[in-house]
Amino acid sequence: MTRSFKIVVLAKQVPDTRNVGKNAMKEDGTVNRAALPAIFNPEDMNALEQALRLKERFPGSKVELLTMGPPRAADIIREGLFRGADGGVLLTDRKFAGADTLATSYALSMALRKMNPDLIISGRQAIDGDTAQVGPQVAEKLGYPQITYAEEIGEWKDKMFTVKRRIENGIEIVRTPVPAVITINASAPVCRPRNAKQLMKYKHARTLTEEHDNEHNSYLPIHSLDTLRITEWSVSDVGGDEESYGLSGSPTKVKKIENIVLQAKESKRLTSSGEEIDSLVKELISLHTIG
């Protein structure tokens, strides 16, 4: 008998920091979110692909997304639905705002208790903070085993998943029971493109907040309002200790922010002549770069 799994993919909407222009940072050193397009965090996309592959391998499995953010982060859920996810939850509440990784993982873990999945998959880290802390912290809070830097979720045997980890200098194969948290490395396969039919169906999917926003309501099919509702949860929906959410639950304090401008150093072109190599070696020794 094959078993099926309930999988939750943790995904984050992030400013696209890969193509940072001049206006990327504000004067005060915070990220200028208005100048950067909001995208699906790339490694969370790799995580989604792993989840969708499991869904194909284990018929009956369900993939849901969980994201925390402002109302517009519903885009993340829709992107997942376009690619084959079955649903998703948007954690959105002013009380969640200003969260560091600790408060974020607390909020996610509270939502996950309610969703009760077999497997939690997320990207290794988000490109805005680069902390790689949220996945592991969620695992700790839920008391689940965690596998980081995963590249491939392999066979299910003896109630254990085999997982391939990409570590420095090689690959490590580990096994884990479920429930577990797995964070996926960028070296894992890229996510599949959107599916045409899924897109045409779910482009109408809305959160309640969005339904109240007239702008989005231009052509909503009446027949499918119920099936196309994206779940929104606030602090009161997930319960827990209010003080542990958002700013009040975040011990991280920013002491100082510095703008660092990375500049490409002048490059030198050498021929393969012995003299030029000699002089380079001498220069590097004198600069204490080598020797």
Binding site: Q198, L199, M200, S224
Partner: protein
């Protein structure tokens, strides 16, 4: 992370043509699928939005998957062993991604798992795929076969075969034989009815069959004993599962190397009849051909786009005499003409696709209810326009993509001749487009009647009635003069011997095409001024091209054909 749809705003421009609203409403039967299928659209705006978003998916796959695979696919090609064909690994990846994304069966109705797209976005997708890899465009584009089954097959055939298209089963169109190429009336492959099994059995050989090892095949075969012309031919559908067809060899070609071109042997291969006996060639293949010709036109425009972009990129990068070569008149002139031809052929392509859309939508509506007299007239007119423009766009777009690939390679200089740049592949891939699905010479034969019966002239005079803005008045005046000139040329030729009429036909068709494309570019420029350069450049060139043709035709004395005739007596002696 590229996107061939988003990086080319001309496509969205054509998608937003004023006629699209009408097309969508007809195609969607007033949105009756809304509520029946969860992915159905519910307004015209919603439908166009879906077209746009799905084209975005297509554009992403073309840029990120198909194009990066093209070089390797060209090099490796498909593999033939034990009578079967395996695609190059890259081809299989392209195929898998497109299936996963639901981009097969785009044109098919939703009840058969299709997306129920109209022709315009479907043709746009074909153009996108061809820009990425012209050879792969054939494999993807053969989903056209489903349309024939849908239009002419029984309910049973439809439900047996059509739902498999969206799942990605591939198709082939098996027409050509060693002795039946352009002249399909000579098809010999035998179909005999086996009453015991209630099946037809096919025996014989097909040659030059694109994607010949497909799962679903449409086969033209001789079902009527003791016949030798087109009326003895019927159309059959064959399922690979039924067995009896093997691939004897695959061709080693100049271009589109990723697309397997097969020689097939049919040995008692079971098949089912599509539609009625004897209608194979005269009705079904002709209809399929029109779709296929539009497909080649789309492929050609895609190739032109690729050639243009390669040329533009290289002309900026390459520096000689201390500056980028695009600064030299000899180079920028070539580039601007490549672009003008690209724009002109694309405008003609989508004008044709819109006409096809309207009459086909009416055809489907007419199966359910009687059309009103106005609708019937409209449908008939659009069908005629589509029939007039299809051979024209097939010829012009394919000729232009060859000229554009040639000029683009020229701009690359010696580097273009090497395997280091994509242009050498594009140049080779372009070459087939003026040949298959009817050579340019045969497109002239199909178009010729619209020259002689005055249809093109009437169409042009109709374009002439449209008001143009002040900026384009001078161009329009030129076009009116060119139309008068064309009219004179037609009159000069039409009184002459049939031999001379055939001899001059191509010049006349091209003259009409040049005027039509110029008008279309002016209309485009009025909607979006980014087309005004192309409208201006193209119309001026068109005038020069037509002057040359006119001068040749008007100076051509009756006996000027004689020196041409003597070539028929010459031969290479062994």
């Amino acid at each position: 992370m590229g996107n061939y749809y988003k990086d080319n705003k001309d496509l969205k421009f054509h998608l937003s043509h004023p006629l699209m609203d009408k097309i969508v409403k007809l195609k969607e039967h007033d949105f009756r699928d809304s509520g029946k299928f969860d992915y159905a659209t519910c307004t015209s705006e919603d439908t166009i939005d879906s077209y746009d978003k799905v084209l975005e998916i297509m554009g992403e796959i073309c840029a990120d998957v198909i194009a990066p695979n093209a070089e390797e696919v060209d090099k490796t090609g498909p593999h033939h062993e034990d009578g079967r064909v395996t695609y190059a690994p890259g081809t299989q990846i392209n195929q898998d991604v497109l299936i996963q994304s639901g981009l097969y069966g785009m044109y098919l109705p939703r009840e058969y798992g299709g997306l129920n797209f109209s022709m315009v976005p479907y043709v746009m997708s074909a153009e996108l795929v061809a820009r990425a890899d012209a050879g792969f465009a054939n494999i993807w584009g053969l989903q056209d076969c489903a349309e024939t089954i849908y239009e002419f097959g029984s309910e049973e055939l439809k439900s047996e075969f059509l739902p498999r298209i969206n799942c990605g089963e591939t198709c082939s169109m098996d027409l050509t034989e060693p002795d039946a190429g352009s002249d399909l009336q000579a098809v010999m492959l035998r179909a005999t009815y086996d009453p015991k099994k209630d099946l037809w059995l096919l025996n014989g050989v097909k040659r030059f069959i694109t994607n010949g090892d497909a799962q679903i095949k449409l086969v033209l075969a001789r079902s009527e004993e003791n016949t030798s012309d087109g009326r003895g031919l019927s159309y059959f559908v064959y399922d690979k599962e039924w067995g009896g067809v093997t691939v004897r060899r695959i061709e080693n070609k100049l271009g589109i190397k990723g697309s397997p071109t097969c020689e097939l042997v049919f040995k008692n291969a079971p098949a089912k009849l599509v539609g009625e006996r004897r209608m194979g060639l005269v009705k079904y293949v002709m209809s399929l051909m029109n779709g296929a010709r539009l497909g080649v036109a789309a492929q050609s425009v895609g190739i032109s786009e690729a050639a243009y972009r390669e040329a533009l990129k290289y002309a900026h990068e390459r520096e000689q005499f201390g500056k980028p070569i695009i600064q030299f008149p000899a180079v920028y002139e070539m580039l601007a003409i490549i672009k003008a031809k690209l724009h002109a052929s694309r405008s003609l392509l989508y004008e044709t696709a819109r006409f096809v859309d309207i009459y086909k939508a009416y055809n489907f509506i007419s199966q359910e209810r009687k059309l009103t007299p106005e609708e019937r007239t409209e449908s008939k007119n659009y069908q005629k326009f589509a029939d007039m423009l299809t051979p024209m766009v097939k010829m012009m777009a394919s000729e232009y993509c060859n000229e554009n690939a040639y000029d683009s390679l020229q701009i690359h200089g010696g580097s273009g001749f090497m395997k280091d740049y994509p242009i050498e592949r594009i140049y080779r891939d372009a070459r087939i487009t003026t040949i298959y699905e009817g050579t340019s010479q045969l497109q002239v034969v199909a178009a010729q009647r619209y020259v002689t019966n005055g249809s093109y002239l009437a169409m042009i005079r109709d374009y002439e009635k449209s008001e143009v803005k002040l900026d384009y008045l001078q161009l329009k005046k030129k076009l009116i003069k060119m139309t008068d000139q064309y009219q004179t040329a037609v009159e000069t030729v039409s009184g002459q011997d049939p031999e001379i009429i055939d001899f001059q036909a191509r010049r006349l068709v091209e003259m009409a095409a040049n005027i039509i494309m110029s008008y279309l570019l002016i209309f485009d420029a009025q909607r979006d001024c980014s087309f005004s350069d192309s409208a201006c450049i193209f119309t001026n060139k068109a005038k020069a091209w037509n002057d040359e043709r006119f001068s040749y035709i008007s100076a051509f004395a009756h006996n000027d054909i004689t020196p041409f005739l003597s070539i028929k007596e010459e031969n290479i002696s062994e």
